[in-house]
């Protein structure tokens, strides 16, 4: 075992916080890995990067990345990030959070931030349930799935997150699984370079909490599900991209150019501050 050499990405992590709290086979670590890889490839200035997260397993991600980070209350990372981004538009503000945090308790903030097209970048770890609280049903739990609060099978229809994001006006919408690490990393790079509100859903294994109740005892079994069912269909219709056991459509769904809220706002401020004289 050679440990005298450091992991190439360790400089992006807060050593004091490592190892992370996530279970064996949890996809959050892979998402974190891809995010820092993307940051590394873009040679981003860590002082200009702010990572905001909410409550839930992935919420800890903010603390793990060695940059400006804020771990907010449940459901509010987007709202808080909005304040950060407007207060200092030069900061690259990334929200990393879970499906429950962003789309149940925080759903309203998501759609409004997308509508405003505020320049924050949202990366959602979709693990189909509330992991940290022990596996309750959530806004992305598949129909008939078993969770601690749907012991007889889930009867709620899950959100199709990419459809929701696209419909709300996001300028960049993509979905990958934690097995698509290369594409995810490149996708995150594109996301970070985009103006306006961007969103990536990462379908992520939660073997310990969700998987074992749904015939996928290990992370490998969940990853194999992703391998079997995922099809890359770039720019296909997000409304047809519901996640089913048979089919997980991944790819870039939206990548458009739209002027961001903060740019409009600061242009307006500049505009009304120049003396107007009338002929």
């Amino acid at each position: 075992m050679m440990t005298e050499i450091e992991h190439p990405l360790s400089k992006y992590l807060r050593k004091a916080m490592m190892p992370h709290i996530w279970c064996s086979g949890c996809g959050n670590g892979i998402i974190l890995n891809c995010v820092v890889q993307a940051v590394d490839e873009l040679q981003m200035d860590l002082d200009k990067l702010v990572v905001v997260s909410g409550i839930g397993c992935i919420g800890r991600a903010a603390g793990y990345i060695n940059t400006n980070s804020f771990h907010t209350t449940h459901g509010r990372p987007i709202a808080l990030a909005t304040g950060v981004k407007l207060a200092n538009p030069n900061l690259e503000v990334v929200v990393i959070s879970g499906d429950g945090d962003l789309f149940a308790i925080g759903g309203n903030h998501f759609i409004h931030a997308a509508r405003r097209n505020i320049g924050i970048k949202v990366i959602c770890a979709n693990n189909f349930n509330y992991g940290m609280t022990g596996g309750q049903q959530g806004p992305t739990t598949p129909l008939e799935a078993l969770t601690t609060t749907t012991p007889y099978g889930n009867i709620e229809h899950p959100f199709n997150l990419v459809h929701l994001a696209a419909a709300s006006g996001a300028t960049y919408v993509a979905r990958w699984t934690t097995l698509h690490v290369r594409r995810l990393t490149q996708s995150i790079k594109r996301l970070l370079q985009k103006e306006g509100f961007g969103f990536i859903e990462v379908v992520s294994p939660c073997p310990e909490i969700f998987g074992r109740r749904n015939k996928m005892k290990t992370g490998l079994e969940m990853m194999e599900w992703f391998r079997r069912s995922s099809v890359v269909e770039n720019f296909s219709d997000p409304s047809k991209a519901e996640i089913t056991p048979e089919r997980i459509v991944v790819g870039e769904f939206v990548n458009i150019d739209k002027i961001s809220y903060e740019r409009l706002l600061h242009e307006k401020i500049a505009h009304i501050n120049e003396e107007k004289t009338w002929r």
Binding site: M17, D47, V50, F70, A79, T82, G83, A87, N273
Partner: protein, 387 residues
């Protein structure tokens, strides 16, 4: 003709405006450059005024999707280096409570204006109340200290807004301006002083290198110097119990003890520096009226009338409601025979008064709905309790 001449940040001079506008001007004078809010009576005019004024001073105004988002954005903006504020009333104030707790835990300088109306629930949006006093202190879960100021004039809406910002910057604590509908909507003369006559305080910045910087390591006044995002001090903030590094310590009771105690002590140990009261004719007063906000103005004329009738009455007006001016009440209680408390609720600050007044009997004049107490009502209270 050029009609849109840009206004300065500080409109030095005398103005005739309402309380909400004065509050907005106070914010701008104090250096607030970020406002996030959501329309609600009777605080809406603050948002309206700032929507117009912020751009003029290069500040940000944004209307969020709700009050939860508003306070969250305020915290974010403050961490990004701007003085930030939101304004609301009872229902919105309730929604903000969780994140006020976050602001306390992350020691975020920010100002929350609550222009109180009649509650509970939707209550009486257009009528005054003083029913959020206790919520201001205890509204969020967990143990903490906070600062709340109570203006009783349009001038004070201006002055105390500036003061609120100064306090929150000094102590890194969310500071609440507990106004009421009358003060908010009332039109009066306001004098905005010239810059040199204004005291503006800014948060203390770290004087160590980023490597040495511990974001939650307090100075001797128990308040940690504050770096902002994007300044090179990559640091972590969290609502979880955290150590001086800002790193979560969810299993460590010793850290919890240290953190929560400090959050309380940084206010408690500075009470004398924080607390402000107005004392009128207290030297020889047998009957001391204690009132705040708009009620204090009726109380003052009641005291004057009583003196004219030969009753030794006096007025103690807490300008700082939280931390509560306990020492001042004790002091007057020692020589006064009776204390009369008038507030627009079923008894909130009166409990604090009773606690501080010890044996001195405290008589309570509650008032609910429509208008504040009239001077006669309070005068009656004084007369009846004159020994």
């Amino acid at each position: 003709m050029s009609n849109t001449v840009k206004r300065k940040a500080i409109l030095t001079g005398a103005h005739f405006m309402n309380g909400d506008f004065a509050c907005a001007e106070g914010a701008i004078v104090a250096g607030c450059r970020f406002f996030a809010g959501y329309p609600i009576t009777p605080a809406t005019e603050i948002a309206e005024r700032l929507a117009e004024r912020m751009p003029e001073v290069g500040g940000i105004y944004i209307q969020m999707e709700d009050e939860i988002a508003s306070i969250a954005a305020v915290i974010g903006a403050s961490y990004a280096g701007l003085k930030a504020m939101t304004a609301t009333s009872g229902p919105g104030f309730s929604l903000m409570q969780e994140n006020i707790g976050l602001a306390v835990m992350t020691e975020t300088p920010c100002v929350i204006v609550d222009v109180m109306r009649g509650g509970p629930s939707t209550g009486q949006p257009t009528l005054p109340g003083q029913q959020d006093v206790m919520q201001a202190k205890w509204g969020s879960h967990g143990d903490y200290e906070i600062i709340a100021l109570s203006p009783s004039s349009v001038q004070e809406m201006f002055d105390l807004t500036v003061e609120a910002f100064n306090m929150s910057e000094i102590y890194r604590v969310p500071t609440i301006l507990l106004a009421d509908e009358v003060v908010g909507h009332m039109w009066e003369k306001v004098v905005i002083p010239s810059p040199e006559n204004l005291k503006i305080v800014n948060r203390k910045r770290p004087n160590v290198s980023p490597e040495k910087y511990l974001p939650f390591m307090p100075d001797d006044n128990l308040v940690p110097p504050m770096a902002c995002f994007g300044e090179g001090f990559a640091f972590h903030a969290t609502g979880l119990t955290h150590d001086e590094h800002g790193y979560p310590q969810t299993q460590n009771s010793e850290v919890q003890e240290r953190l929560v105690r400090r959050l309380c002590d940084k206010i408690r140990k500075s009470v004398d520096k924080i607390v402000k009261v107005e004392e009128v004719m207290l030297e020889d007063a047998d009957v001391v009226v204690i009132a705040y906000g708009i009620v204090a103005r009726a109380a003052l004329s009641a005291v004057r009338k009583a003196r004219a009738e030969g009753i030794k009455a006096g007025l103690l007006r807490p300008i700082t409601l939280w931390p509560f001016p306990e020492k001042h009440v004790e002091k007057v209680a020692r020589r006064a025979k009776k204390i009369v408390v008038a507030e627009m609720n079923c008894g909130q600050i009166v409990r604090e008064v009773q606690r501080a007044a010890k044996e001195t009997p405290v008589m309570f004049l509650p008032k609910l709905g429509e208008d504040p107490h009239t001077p006669m009502e309070i005068f009656e209270g004084i007369r009846r309790n004159n020994p």
